[in-house]
Symmetry: none
Amino acid sequence: MTNWFVTKNGDLKSRWVAAFPDAQAALDLNIESRIKADDIIWLATSVQVWPELTQRLVAKGVTVVILSYAPNDREALKALDQGARGYVHTLAAVDVLKQVALVVANQGVWVGQELLSKVLGGSFKALQQRTEQGARPTAECLSLLTEREQSVAIAVTSGAANKEVARQLDITERTVKAHLSAIFKKLGVRDRLQLILKLANNDYRLNP
Amino acid sequence: MTNWFVTKNGDLKSRWVAAFPDAQAALDLNIESRIKADDIIWLATSVQVWPELTQRLVAKGVTVVILSYAPNDREALKALDQGARGYVHTLAAVDVLKQVALVVANQGVWVGQELLSKVLGGSFKALQQRTEQGARPTAECLSLLTEREQSVAIAVTSGAANKEVARQLDITERTVKAHLSAIFKKLGVRDRLQLILKLANNDYRLNP
DNA sequence: AAAAATACTGTACCGTTGGACAGAATATAA
DNA sequence: TTATATTCTGTCCAACGGTACAGTATTTTT
């Protein structure tokens, strides 16, 4: 079993060698002839043709893990849709890389904990809508909130602490908390961090 | 680490004991008090309240695998949506069970290969018609950090709590804090919120 | 050989956060 | 008119986040 790292430049990061002493660097062109069925291909999204390449490799029965510098749910979904078994940050730590390798080598899927819920949760809701009633765009997170809650959400999403939000909106910190609790509940997130990620990932323009 | 098998009748199949000598049977009522965070709960869909139970267990940080006598896409999606990490046939072979345990214990997802493509294939197209975004100037900020600091930064930026980062990188929470302090100082941000905003795209930032 | 950087862990402290209870005023809808 | 939704406020408390001291071990640089 060999770990191939396919990047635009064909470079091999020290992190990768540390994780897999057998790691091999490769350009996107000439790998397809040299791989074996139980190899793992770590394919960076800097390679323009990564979706097509993934498809071809997967068709041959090769395990593919996609490496991305800027992970997002759309790209993750695309990667998995093309047949990749993993989707992980290009700069992931050695321990994480090993873990990913272990998982995908055993027929598992690795997408990172926070992406998982988003990717699968999204697909579940999408399927629910199609089979049940349809309509309702999932992107409109903010529209689920009241006007005041939207104000709080936007302030928080721009990095403000509760105290700062309170000052901005001229209310007490307690009220900010109350709005936030409602926001978390409505959007199904656990804290302000997840809120930021949820809104940021849906391409909301916060402060142009 | 303990493997709990939760069924309607509280029975424990010999196959399960063969796979995990430490296997424990349980009814749906009284498990929640006795489980530890790194336990694996194998929950049969014969238990009527399995979705709600899954949700509660997952909220506590427990790894849940759903066992179904008649696997299908819809049930699989629901299981994963509730936070389960695995979905497998109740009568799965010993080797498969071991493999599933290995995968989910390492933050992976196990759903069976043919189910995965079906599940993800459809939902991807639903999200297809949305704007694609290219790679980010995030790398410049990251290059100021040491390798380990980068790993921590990435984990935090994806929404993980200190405790989760610690588990991912297999270090203590204290060490995560140490790295974070260094990161904040180097990048000139006051907390993880500002770090997210700094790394995630400087498009929408409020307080420079 | 000495210094600096890196990685890791410990205890203690304190501010922040979010939930658990709560309650109250106003406006809109049934 | 009784609900329901929205907005606002209160106290208490457990968990989390970040800093201030600390320290040790290893590697790299000077």
